[in-house]
């Protein structure tokens, strides 16, 4: 099965410097012919490589903006983090007005359906007996579990993320207003690559209710340009739908789900490495008594998404301030409740579940005898390699090279230590070893020294 990945390498820009290869949590990247290559079966779209690349050679593929005009009725599905990208003096209604102007007749905040999501989550927490229940909010984490922790897929709560629930809601609303289903285009403004993958190849679902994705950084540029052009001469629109609750504003921040958890013991963890460390423990049954786990791939969760523009700590601060302001209104009973969403409660609730998540195994061979045979060879080769993980073979670790030798046609002589030994024993000419280096690191890098 092919998995859609939004993270792609621009070969024209890639220097083959291997920074990305060294930070990939699933060892999905290799350098060959002087360029980085991503193994699609292993990639979980976390974006670590994107952040590590010093040459901006990794990009996040997005739909062409003009795609939106294929649909007569266009909706922008905007997460709170997007509004958190702008300074406080730029009002929400002004940003809405600009989004209208650039082509979206409807703008809706992703988190408007969070109360429903939380209700379902709490219901699952209450009835769950496969502890801990793991949130499905962050798609990079769902994919990480599928690939690296297949034993924990049953712990993932099989429900849609707020973005999908909101997409379902707005579709339903517009259909009721008379729009034919196929004329409505719902576009999600994404902070990360993982959400794109989730929209393009959803887990546990046939098809997403979202028609396309717009990268947050590119939309930021468009909107910011308008703000500059407008100067002091701008209009604001009346917000079409009730405002988010303070709880909803905070959902995509670290602790956003955990703080509403009804369980006695729940944790929130952010950052890929932190999440992996903890999942390892959960998989080994070393963690007792944890009921609910909120795991997010990015530092500070979605404010730290790779497609955000603003500093993640500043975005968090803005969202906190917004939530505090709204909380004041809530206390005074001034907040307009999202009645339109509440009216669709039963319909949305009925369609909130997805199928159980399946593992996406990266085993050596589907046949266990063959896998064992390969494993034996791999272990044998691992013992021959120096185990210092220098990466000069174009693989992230000695063990990864051992596996590549057995499964992907690499050679023992790809290891620089093996080459030097062979040269010393006169089993290999210097020219031959240079040729090997050239195959891995590219002609240009080797040519310099010839």
């Amino acid at each position: 099965m092919a998995f859609f990945h939004a993270l792609q390498i621009n070969e024209n820009v890639c220097e083959g410097c291997s920074h990305c290869m060294r930070v990939c949590p699933t060892e999905a990247i290799r350098v060959r012919d002087g360029k980085a290559h991503i193994n699609e079966n292993r990639c979980v779209d976390c974006g670590n490589c994107f952040t590590a690349c010093p040459h901006k050679a990794i990009f996040v593929k997005q739909d062409d903006f003009d795609e939106i005009f294929k649909f007569p009725c266009r909706v922008a599905l905007v997460p709170a983090v997007f509004l958190g990208q702008f300074k406080d003096d730029i009002t929400v209604s002004r940003i809405y007005a600009i989004l209208n102007e650039i082509g979206f007749q409807h703008v809706i905040e992703t988190e408007i359906s969070t109360p429903l999501y939380t209700e379902k989550k709490n219901e699952m927490e209450r009835s769950n007996n496969n502890k801990p229940l793991i949130s499905s909010f962050c798609p990079a984490i769902v994919r990480l579990i599928q690939v690296k922790f297949p034993g924990l897929v049953d712990n993932i709560m099989p429900i849609k993320a707020p973005l999908d629930i909101t997409a379902m809601f707005i579709r339903r609303k517009l259909v009721k207003e008379g729009w034919p289903e196929d004329q409505i285009g719902v576009f999600y403004v994404t902070p990360c690559a993982a959400k794109i993958a989730a929209v393009k190849s959803p887990v546990g679902e046939e098809k997403s209710s979202v028609d396309g994705v717009i990268n947050m950084d590119s939309l930021y540029n468009r909107v910011y340009k308008k703000i500059k052009e407008q100067g002091h001469d701008y209009k604001e629109v009346k917000l079409p739908i009730a405002q988010l609750t303070s709880d909803s504003i905070l959902t995509s921040l670290t602790n956003g789900e955990r703080r509403l958890s009804i369980s006695e013991h729940s944790l929130s963890i952010d950052g890929m490495d932190n999440c992996m460390e903890f999942l390892e423990k959960v998989e080994n049954d070393e963690v007792e008594g944890v009921d609910f786990l909120e795991l997010r791939a990015c530092d500070q969760s979605c404010p730290g998404g790779i497609l955000t523009y603003n500093n993640r700590f500043l975005t968090c601060e803005r969202l906190f301030n917004r939530a505090r302001y709204v909380a004041g209104k809530e206390r005074r009973g001034e907040l307009t409740r999202a009645k339109e969403v509440e009216d669709e409660h039963d319909y949305l609730y009925e369609n909130i579940s997805v199928e159980e998540v399946e593992p996406r195994s990266i085993s050596l061979d589907p046949d266990i005898s063959k896998a064992l045979e390969k494993m034996n060879k791999i272990k044998e080769i691992e013992r021959m390699l120096p185990q210092i993980d220098c990466g000069i073979c174009g693989a992230p670790s000695c063990d990864a090279l051992a596996e590549d030798i057995v499964c992907n046609g690499c050679k023992l002589s790809d290891c620089i230590f093996v080459q030097r030994n062979m040269e010393a024993r006169k089993d290999m000419k210097v020219e031959e070893s240079l040729k090997i280096m050239e195959n891995i690191w590219g002609y240009e890098k080797i040519e310099k020294f010839r």
Partner: protein, 137 residues
């Protein structure tokens, strides 16, 4: 395939390193996650026992297409009454060990629950060998 690990007396911090490594191997072999889990749980308990009640020991694993055979071998004080030790809640754990959260007397029963075949051989003053076998398909 044959794998071997050393378990060190009193080193609770690293208890589970053999089971963790074997887990990784079984995952690469595409063994059903629920079977992997049973292996990990059983081996972890046996490892902890070698650390807590004996003076450390050796873990060996032999894997073929049909099954995994695990042995946890120690040269510890031995178990005088295996049948007694096998029962839930039966434990001789010291207060120190209990303070670390072990010693509920649930280890051996838990092993029994999770493996397909269990054989505990023990001679007082000589040592204990816990042999566990789990079918892989």
């Amino acid at each position: 395939m044959h794998l071997e690990y050393t378990v060190i007396e009193g080193d609770f911090v690293n208890a589970g390193s053999a089971s963790s490594s074997i887990k990784k191997t079984l995952k690469q072999l595409n063994v059903n996650p629920s079977i992997v889990k049973r292996v990990v749980v059983a081996l972890y308990e046996a490892e902890v026992n070698a650390i807590a009640h004996a003076y450390g020991g050796v873990v060996t694993a032999d894997i073929d297409a049909g099954k995994i055979l695990l042995r946890v071998i120690d040269k510890g004080p031995g178990i005088p009454d295996i049948e007694w030790a096998m029962q839930e809640g039966h434990s001789t754990a010291s207060p120190e060990v209990r303070n670390m959260g072990f010693g509920a007397g649930m280890g051996l029963p838990n092993i029994k629950k999770n493996v397909d075949r269990l054989n505990v051989q023990s001679t007082v003053g000589v040592g204990t060998t816990v042999e566990m076998e789990v079918n892989l398909s």
